[in-house]
Symmetry: C2
Subunit: 190 residues, 2 copies
């Protein structure tokens, strides 16, 4: 959608949908929320929610200020040789974690899942349905191993950016890739 | 020290030392705090702090309610064949994370480092000086690789116990060990 094509009121409608979505996902979880219910809460036609966002995943990503569209992440993983999956994943996340806006969104999420059971439930269901299941299917890797990769990646964020333990906090991207990429590759090759 | 041997007032003295230690570590960091300064703040002789706790590491562990004495952790890593380090580490942490008191302490720490810069600084200095440096020296592994192991272990806690992503959240200890132990072993063998 080109910005120039927006009618007055579209921004307000979009914000009303996102506010309704945050409320619904918060009270009913990711699994218990439908686009139809969000539309009813926002008092708009469900077709408009589809028009603005395209899918429940994308409404969730926008409502939660997710730092990365899951479809982009899955695309990054699959776009290129399988032997480069580990390196592409590490470089994607290092880039996200070091770019101000996605960085703030990611660490805001980390704080909320650590302190708020409702936020943890939403993220759990979303990660399971929208990310891990897709990655597992596309790569042909057992879901348990995909959660092991997720643990390595999120632990990297925790140690490098939150607790900032040296020498990991100050290591260059190439040093981090040289260490972590083969570990992720082991998860998908094992 | 046998409980029966305690004179009246020892518990109060011990608590006064721990309160002074929490305050000092909080304002001066781990590196900037000495047993002498803690003793002065608590108005006791430094020898008494040594008598109660033995070392600055141990005062810190007690003051922060750390779920594991770093000396015990290093001992676990070294007590047995090198080929079993990964499995011993995973089993030690699964046990800690599933035992009520250390579990609560661990997840309390995770929340505080995610939300409080001062807590993150204390933990960073402590982990660097009292844990990582020792493990790196004892195993003869570069410190960067030890931080990679820490990232895998803490990420396991985050995904399995905090966000509770399936199938990792419901996997048995043996399944977790089968997946994570070889990864940790790779860090020390590589």
């Amino acid at each position: 959608m080109a910005r120039a094509g927006r009618r007055p009121g579209q921004t307000e409608t979009r914000e009303a949908i996102l506010a309704a979505a945050r409320e619904r996902f918060g009270t009913h979880g990711y699994d218990g929320t439908t686009i139809r219910a969000i539309a009813a809460d926002a008092d708009v036609n469900p077709a408009l929610v589809h028009h603005f966002f395209g899918s429940k995943d994308k409404v969730f990503a926008a409502a939660m200020h997710l730092p990365v569209d899951p479809a982009v992440m899955v695309g990054t993983i699959l776009d290129g040789p399988r032997s480069g999956v580990g390196e592409r994943l590490v470089r994607l996340f290092l880039m996200l974690w070091e770019t101000p806006q996605p960085r703030a969104a990611f660490f805001g999420l980390l704080r909320s899942v650590s302190t708020n059971e409702q936020a943890a439930t939403m993220m759990r269901q979303f990660i399971q349905r929208a990310v891990l299941a897709k990655v597992a299917t596309e790569l042909g890797v057992p879901p348990l191993r995909v959660t092991g990769m997720a643990a390595q990646l999120f632990g990297l964020a925790l140690v490098r950016y939150v607790v900032k333990v040296e020498p990991l906090a100050g290591a260059s991207h190439d040093e981090v890739v040289a260490m972590i990429a083969p570990v992720l590759q082991g998860y998908i090759g094992g």
